[in-house]
Symmetry: C2
Subunit: 255 residues, 2 copies
């Protein structure tokens, strides 16, 4: 049973359903925002780290990404679900199961995920989560002992169920053993949704608007892969202007 009543005795976990709601949240000094964009940016980030990428540098515009491409860097890009012709990689995790990324920097821009990261970076520390790295990111968050906002990237500021289910799973892991407290109705709702739906997760997400949007573009192949909890040990954290992997686990894969 959860009661959302201040003052909180432990670090708190809050869920933000859309980047458009992020400015309205109370944010203290000691904050980590965890950006979640299951379909598909943050799933891809975890995968890229598993396969040995050195860093991911989020950029907010296609124009900036194109300049980096012209300067000889690797670029991943997506707008409205589609890869622009100039980019090396799309926003699909499958693109990063690739030896060519080992030790490299990738400049990365997407419709929703990179914008959410930019917003969160202005408010404090930023980490990255997807279903793949839930156990790893949860262990890292517990060690930090800071307040947590789980920021769902959504789709063009609209609520997305797959990000919310992932947030609910992380929030549930954090509150186990009385280490964190749920601190808003969004967190309470996310955990309730997770508890209700986790046994038929893929069915639920296959009903969703975002999945159906991607399916029309021919991108439904990555969903089953994206829902494998614990598949990745990546702990992607923003440092300066790039995302690096703080995981100690030696699980890097090769093709």
């Amino acid at each position: 049973m959860f009661y959302l009543s201040e003052p909180f005795a432990m670090p708190t976990v809050v869920v933000c359903f859309s980047p458009a709601l992020y400015p309205y949240l109370d944010k203290g000094d000691d904050l980590i925002t965890v950006v979640i964009d299951v379909l598909r940016a943050t799933t891809s980030f975890c995968t890229a780290f598993d396969y040995g990428v050195r860093e991911i540098i989020p950029v907010n515009s296609l124009e900036t990404a194109m300049v980096h491409k012209e300067n000889g860097h690797l670029v991943a890009a997506e707008r409205d679900g589609v890869k622009p012709a100039f980019a090396d990689y799309s926003n699909s995790a499958f693109d990063f199961m690739n030896n060519a990324i080992v030790g490299k920097s990738i400049y990365y821009t997407t419709t929703n995920g990179t914008r959410a990261i930019e917003l969160a970076t202005a408010a404090g520390k930023v980490a990255i989560a997807s279903f793949l790295n839930i156990p790893a990111i949860t262990r890292w968050l517990i060690a930090q002992n800071s307040n947590v906002i789980l920021l769902c990237a959504g789709w063009k500021n609209n609520f997305c169920i797959e990000d919310t289910l992932c947030a609910g799973a992380i929030a549930k892991s954090l509150i186990q053993d009385n280490r964190f407290e749920l601190a808003d109705d969004s967190a309470l709702t996310s955990v309730t949704l997770w508890n209700t739906c986790n046994e038929h997760l893929e069915t639920m997400i296959r009903r969703s608007s975002h999945f159906n949007r991607l399916k029309k573009l021919g991108y439904d192949d990555v969903l089953s892969y994206s829902l494998q909890i614990g598949k990745s040990n990546a702990v992607p954290v923003m440092q300066g202007n790039s995302i690096v992997n703080l995981s100690n686990a030696k699980n890097n894969k090769t093709v």
Copy 2:
């Protein structure tokens, strides 16, 4: 089983979790926005119509409300849960179980509810719902046969679970008998939350942040009353600059 895949064959129902997300929704020409602010504005509106008020005129500022008061009108007002001294009525439904309101106009301003109404009015038709009038408003919406957005007023643009549960209950009623289709992940989530929680609705809302905020102000008395589905036959609909009751039911109460 719901699948959110366009094109939709029937009128659609969408849920908006916050006034801050309302601008991002696709809105067609044939739209009714139903504003939900369970704690406490829309519960109070339904009650006021049950007790014979002629019309409720939403106003957005305390200053405007004060001018109406000085001109001899009845005024209901609330900011941050508290009734300003000049107002006749607070935002509690109990204030409107009152013979003095019969046949009268009430100018009404609140922290969340009246702002949501103002926003919705710019987009099309506006109706008002709470748990009290779910059967009545559902029947009316079915008769209109328009697309529906259920707009949760929330708390200062933050998500509130009590409004979402009410939206889920209305959405579930609308999709029965294949009259409407759920059209976004928010609607799918609201119905799932309602299905999961409706048997322990009051327990769930007593955990919520908004309830605990009001409780600290001494306002927890109205919750059990507010959750009585079907208690009111009111069909409050915006016409011009005021909300009137389109119900044909002769259920007006007296003290």
